[in-house]
Amino acid sequence: MSKITRHDSAHKHVAGTSTYSDDIILPENTLHAYAGLSTCANGTITSKDFTAVLDMAGVVDVLHADNLPRNIDLSPTGQNDEPLFAKDKVEFYGQPIFAVIAKTRDIARRAAQLAEITYNEASNAIDVLDAEAQNYPNVTAPLTLQRGDVDSAMQNAPHKLEGEMRIGGQDHFYLEGQIAIAIPGEDDDLTIYTSTQHPSEAQHMVAHALDIPFSSITTKVRRMGGGFGGKESQSNFFAVVTGISAHKHRVPVKMRPDRDDDMISTGKRHDFVARYKIGFDDKGVIQAVDGNFLARCGYTSDLSGPVTDRSLFHADSSYYYENVRLQSHPLKTNTVSNTAFRGFGGPQGMLAGERFIEEIAYALGEDPLTIRKRNFYGTDDRNITPYHQVLCDNISAKIVDELEDSSEYQKRREAIIEFNKQNPILKKGIALTPVKFGISFTATWYNQAGALVHVYKDGSIALNHGGTEMGQGLFTKVAQVVAEEFSVDVECVKITETTTDKVPNTSATAASSGSDLNGMAALDAAQKIKARLINFACEKYQVTSDQVTFENNHILIGNEKIPFGDFTASAYMERVQLSDTGFYKTPEIHWNRETGRGNPFYYFAYGASCSEVIIDSLTGEYKISRVDILHDVGSSLNAELDIGQIEGGFIQGMGWLTTEELWWDDKGRLRTHAPSTYKIPLASDIPDEFNVKLATWSKNVKPTIKRSKAVGEPPFMLANSVLEALSMAVASHKNYKVCPSLNAPATPEEVLMAIERLNKG
């Protein structure tokens, strides 16, 4: 399967001819919507005056909570806590209050500045610790994962320590911002072009908003200019505003916020405070973990429930906790409602898990890698997770051993310790950290997918499925699956846009599940058609099915070799059905949130990375000198695309842990709301030496599509080694005897201040 196949749109990307939503040619009478945002972080609205807005030439309408036909709510989990527009109270600086509809985007945007909204401002809680101090509620029910007797194990442990770690949030910074275009049709019909990872949800939201059947709304997305989780639920606002205004005015309506407004008014990765107590023995083997995970969820629940759940699912990283209690605290804050982002809480949980190891290692004066190995899950014993799922595919040790070897970790660590002795200002650090990431939606019903495959008379194939393309190469991989099933060139498979009128009731393209689910569904459809073709061949040529093979764009029947297109043409003449749907649901998984027990994950993806850094102890500046990665994608569907996900995921994770800092002022204004102030990695930030390899020996133990493994999210967490390498460089100032408690993101300032804390402490 794993031959070089380029991204299906690569040639269009480089030519500038791939169409994104903003490139769609609009009907002449299209109107444009622009949202007006709250300038108060918490308070009641005392008045709304839109006179000046409506007086501006070119303004057609203002939509706001008081003139909507019904209450419209955007909660993706049915909690009814997220009004489309703030009505009487605002709960974050940047919350949409109204939308201007005007003849051009420029007019709508300028007019939105003219509304006069007054507030009665109340005190606010921007930070998660503020929320805790002010007894802010949880936005959704917290979760506890528990196994064993934590309290007595902690009491009896030879060593105990406790600590706290701040883990920053992250803006998605998809290069293409949020956008939607709604075009009215007959009756109540609406077609919505939008950049979304979840077309079905956009469809449902718009239908709910208009109180019309789902079948009236069609959502379409050919491609996104990046998603990363930021277009799972956050795109709904734009779909709904354009949908209701197009429905009201019977003309197309387009909405595209400026980058600043996009970053201010749409959710991000949750930042966390992890508080922990760890009990361990002389060897550093963990006996008890008691962890509390406080998350800044923002003003509504959005996806914070499943996100904070997943942070607990991954707080074990790759380690066996004999006695464990993990609790989530999904706290409400007066900030934008945080949302899905690659890893979905997993990275935050896993980073805390790595901090536990680091704490133990520095306390015992050992190499953290030694402590890691002593705590790895076993294969036959010590293999039960805090959620009581038995790990049945554990390859952590093998991956880590192989990388330790190929990266020459031990030799380099020794050299680094020597370097640090010689150099008072520049200090180096190295760390090797593992990744184990559970694959499946924890919302079990999401683990289903549909596909539609047409074989036309001429043998050309049209493929459609519920997955969306955001750059990850999903369309390419699924097309490869179908092409291989019919043994035709992948170019024979026409990739078509995701649209809710071809495959209904789809799940979000999220949780790394895209190829697992849609690949299997497409395979199912292709297999049904193929079975009919074989049947037809058997009848027509009077052969048995074992005499019919598909090979190299042909069908071989006995001694006859027929071009695929000729054969499908004759099948049509004999009235063979050449189109079918496919369906897949992931087997074996179940999860009971009430008891904290189940098998939420079908399988796990593994990996490890080794990062070396150098820091400047006078300024906290640093650079990443070398990174080695060994990652498990099972039997790869497309090695080049997989490596792209690994390299890209790693650098995105590195950004999260280094320069990407979200900063709110005391009024609750996000001041890092554009690339001028929010710094994602550049080409010059990537490691000087960057070696990425696939664990080619790995095969998924579960019968996934071609025994491959999901690759979207797991590599993100490979970046954990960067933070820990920085930590080691800082720790050199106290001869590696004190864990530096480096928080994320480790900006140059955080690195310098960690050195200061060490020197003063």
């Binding site: 998605h172 200019g225 980058r259 150099n423 520049l426 695309l641 550049l682 990537i686």
Partner: protein, 483 residues
């Protein structure tokens, strides 16, 4: 009246356009050329990158990458705008730069890709076999969120190996385009009226002085790397606009034994050789100012004239004792650059004056210059602080000293207390360490998203130590020392 330019292979005459019409909006909304993307509308992501060819002050045709989202149409008379749509051959085959990106899997979501292609193309035209460092410099103004850049860097290697710049259409058509652009160069002042205000394009600096005198409320735009955001982000009404980026008599570079004099309209890129030849100490800082597109558009004159407290050129220029020359219809006057900055948002410039040139004295043998920029991200970031020092040594003694910093006050500001603590003392670690606390007398920096007040202060002090250690040549003190 109208402006004339070449757009790919078409000659365009444009009249009656809004003074703040950006190149990107013109391409996407008025021409339907959607290959160039809007990612940020502030010149920081590079998705809108196009090439602009122009005849420089030596009459050479140069193509440079620019940000279409903050470049105004009024600045493009007699230019050749080259967009992603121009790269493919007549029968649709990909350009070698495009093909290499395909072959190396350099695109994922593809939204940033046209911008990357244009930046790589611009680099390759001027430097077909760049080092990795040069590639990284050329890509400082392009963000990619999917690939992690590794395949894009690999693509540039392939381009260098496989592609022959001489076979490129822009190379082959050079003379024809040169002639066409030269023909378009304006002979007279251009004024374009529009309901939203006037676009004023003077033919030389004398006309500029007159226009400014007649329109004292006009916004002067050279590179538009700052003013562009007033429009794209703040929707500010800035008409009438006087464009000066094309004025050859503001693009002069005078390099004498005693000083370097830069016309206010010289872009960073045009000044690069002169600055780095004379002040190699500024190499690190220079390539950390904006991204390549910003250095291609922005001018040092603009960096000074806008009076920003976080501009990166004033601190080293102040320590060097640079002076600024202002001109108006009444004549010219000169003042020390330091005095130009009065307070936050206020400079010593009358409404009818414009910055004409900057004169930078050269270093004598016993003079040392060093500049450090500290920012959250190394490249294409605004300084948390910019730290510059100039020292004249007399044997072991610090005979004279100037320290200036950006990011520490409402203007670029001297550290006079630190200077006093150091002056006339031997240049030793003890002297420097003893002087460190004096930074607290000089500055009371703010806490903001770029850095906390504590960090700014601590680093200010530590950088004096770094400066000493670097000069005394003992241990490794900068990341760049450690290859």
């Amino acid at each position: 009246m109208n402006i004339q330019f070449h757009l790919n292979d078409t000659t365009v005459e444009l009249s009656n356009f809004s003074p703040d019409l950006t190149l990107l909006d013109y391409l996407r909304l008025e021409r339907g050329m959607t290959g160039s993307k809007e990612g940020c509308a502030e010149g920081d992501c590079g998705a809108c990158t196009v090439l602009v060819g122009r005849l420089n002050s030596c009459g050479e045709l140069t193509y440079e990458s620019v940000n279409g989202c903050i470049r105004f149409m009024g600045s493009l008379n007699a230019c050749h705008i080259v967009t992603i749509e121009h790269l493919r051959g007549k029968d649709g085959e990909l350009h070698p730069v495009q093909q290499a990106m395909v072959d190396c899997h350099g695109s994922q979501c593809g939204f940033c890709t046209p911008g990357f292609i244009m930046s790589l193309y611009g680099l390759w035209l001027s430097n077909p076999t760049p080092s990795r460092e040069e590639v990284e410099q050329a890509l400082q103004g392009n963000l990619c969120r999917c690939t992690g850049y590794a395949p894009i860097l690999r693509a540039m290697d392939v381009i260098s190996k496989n592609a022959d710049a001489k076979s490129d259409p822009l190379y082959q058509e050079r003379e024809r385009i040169k002639a066409a652009l030269s023909h378009m160069e304006q002979q007279d002042d251009i004024t374009i009226h529009h309901a939203k205000g006037d676009t004023l394009i003077p033919k030389d600096s004398q006309s500029l002085a007159k226009m400014l005198d007649a329109n004292p409320n006009a916004t002067i735009i050279a590179g538009s790397t700052d003013v562009g955001l007033w429009v794209s982000k703040h929707m500010k009404d800035i008409a009438p606009i006087i464009f000066i980026n094309h004025l050859k008599d503001l693009q002069t570079i005078e390099d004498t034994d005693s000083h370097l004099k830069l016309g206010a309209g010289v872009t960073y890129s045009d000044a690069q050789t002169a600055i780095l030849d004379n002040f190699p100490q500024l190499q690190d800082l220079f390539f950390r100012i904006g991204g390549q597109q910003v250095r291609n558009m922005g001018t040092i004159g603009g960096n000074i004239a806008n009076g920003s407290p976080i501009g990166d050129t004033p601190p080293p220029l102040i320590t060097l004792g640079a002076s600024v020359e202002l001109e108006s219809v009444a004549g010219t006057r000169s003042l020390p650059l330091e005095e130009f900055f009065i307070e936050y948002g206020k400079q010593d410039r009358a409404r009818n004056e414009f910055v004409k040139s900057i004169t930078i004295p050269k270093l004598a043998e016993n003079e040392i210059l060093t500049c450090y920029k500290i920012s959250k991200r190394k490249d294409e970031d605004i300084s948390a602080l910019c730290w510059a020092i100039w020292v004249r040594l007399d044997g072991e003694l610090i005979a004279d000293i100037r320290i200036a910093m950006g990011g520490m006050a409402g203007t670029p500001k001297r550290a006079t207390a630190v200077e006093t603590a150091l002056k006339a003392n031997p240049f030793t670690l003890d002297t420097c360490e003893a002087a460190m606390d004096a930074f607290e007398q000089d500055y009371a920096p703010l806490s903001d998203w770029r850095a906390s007040s504590d960090y700014r202060m601590l680093v200010s002090k530590n950088l004096l130590k770094r400066f000493y250690l670097e000069q005394s040549g003992g241990s490794l003190v900068q990341l760049g020392d450690c290859k």
